[in-house]
Amino acid sequence: MNFLVKKLKVIKAVALVTYKEWSAYRTHSMVSIFVGPVYFIVQYYIWTAVYSGKTSLNGMELSEMLTYFGITTLIGYITMDFADWNLQMLVRTGKFLTFALRPIHHRFFALSQKIGHRILGLFFEFIPCLFIFGFIFKINLSPANYGWTIISVVLAFLMNLYLNYTIGLTAFWLVQATGVRRVYLLLQSIFSGGLVPLVFFPKILQKLLLFLPFQYVSYVPAMVFIGRYTLAGVSIPIPQIVGLQAIAVVVTALISEIVYRSSMKRFTGVGA
């Protein structure tokens, strides 16, 4: 219990510092209030045109499609992550050392940082866009089930952190880790479902995506919100897909811990 209280105190302190640190860049966050809705308007007209004369495409109706794009944007504001970038900067400048000298697991520090950073995102990106989407564009913003949606978004938050953190750890091994990072981010932007619902991809690719971690970052929470999950012709009930997502998060966390440990071995071995 005492242990938990201590951990919470660290989360609070680090999150607060990160919140203050990024508050100076509020206007940067607020760019999203413009960009998010503009992209949505484009999507609105694209899909309205595409759906003319059709009620359903790949099992999705127009209204669902619009909700999908709105909700992936909003979820993106909550789960957005830059742990990889941060970690790489620390390694490259040698500042990682100051974390090795403090009694804290750096991934836990990164988690606390992300919480602070995303609370800022909640105020300056999520809530304003929520109002714009809900009241101006009038898209349906009530989830099929509040409980499962919240759990799924929290899991997506963690998933994104663990994936990015693992990618960031490559900086201990590679001099030019930015390349790995950019290729990964590119793959993630295509295969997480942010571009288009994954059911639009060719069947073979969909089957492959079932086994890749990308869908858990964006597609899964969005479909949990809509209340119905299908990929590669497989429909999975909501509680089960959230369960799968939880398993995926745990597995990713474990992988990230394994990579972290071997990275630490390397760090303490060569002082990279």
């Binding site: 760019v31 045109a49 390349g179």
Partner: protein
């Protein structure tokens, strides 16, 4: 005078190419990522048509033609004008704009010339390949259509030059906002699709106010034989945009000199 400027520009291009060659791996990777991330929207179009849907009255290759033109246009603009924003931003943050100001050449010219960057070359070439494929599925193209296309294409590049300069000018006041380009990228998004899918107000906006339709849609429409009066009237705001960009940037430099001196 002109000869001197051409000479400077040639030297800058040489430097840019040799820099790119020094960091070959990065250069290739930059190009690859730039190309793939900019061909995501044609991918969506392919996925839409692959799912048996379509933009009403537009064939797949017609839409791809718009998007190929958009990609080429972005490629050209990225190579020649995108560096100026980052250079200006960096100079302002570090307070080192004086370095550019003390050069015995026009400051705006110098900033543009010294930031030529070929990491978007693949974008232009990739767009070109897409363009060729799309064109081969489209009916015969007359010389007049090609001429119209070239004029409109150049106007589109001018719009992006104007946008780059306006952003660079804005960075004088809104220091170090690295997300500035996202704002304009989101508006450019409209130029990637057939304009008739949008509401009249929007297509009016994208033709005459911020003429992003000129980046992809209008030049492609010329090749499809559908260049109408609107397209040619829209050249005017393109021109205004470019001149506005140049004027604004120069104005900001004058202000900067006034304050800095």
């Amino acid at each position: 005078m002109l000869k001197k400027y051409i000479e400077i520009y040639r030297e800058c291009i040489k430097i840019s190419i040799s820099t790119a060659m020094t960091y070959r791996f990065n250069f290739i990777l930059d190009n690859f990522i730039m190309l793939v991330s900019n061909t995501l929207f044609p991918l969506v179009t392919l996925l839409i048509y692959g799912s048996g849907a379509e933009f009403p009255n537009w064939s797949l290759y017609e839409v791809l033609l718009i998007q190929a033109v958009f990609t080429m246009s972005t490629g050209v603009a990225n190579i020649f004008f995108s560096g100026v924003l980052w250079a200006t931003m960096r100079h302002i943050i570090e307070g080192s704009l004086e370095i550019a100001l003390i050069k015995p050449v026009n400051c705006l010219f110098f900033l543009i010339a010294s930031t030529v960057e070929f990491s978007s070359l693949s974008l232009f070439l990739g767009g070109g390949v897409m363009f060729a494929i799309a064109l081969s599925h489209i009916g015969p193209v007359s010389i007049l259509m090609v001429l119209q296309f070239l004029v409109l294409f150049m106007s589109g590049v001018c719009v992006m030059m104007g946008i780059s300069l306006i952003m660079a000018a804005t960075s004088f006041k809104w220091v170090g906002n690295s997300r500035l380009p996202e704002i304009f990228d989101s508006i450019k998004y409209f130029g990637r699709y057939p304009q008739n899918i949008f509401h009249k107000t929007i297509s009016g906006f994208t033709s005459f106010i911020i003429p992003v339709a000129m980046i992809g849609y209008f030049p492609a429409a010329a090749l499809l034989g559908e260049a109408n009066g609107t397209a040619f009237i829209a050249i005017l705001p393109c021109f205004v945009f470019t001149m506005g960009g140049i004027f604004l940037f120069r104005h900001m430099i004058r202000l900067y000199e006034g304050v800095g001196g």
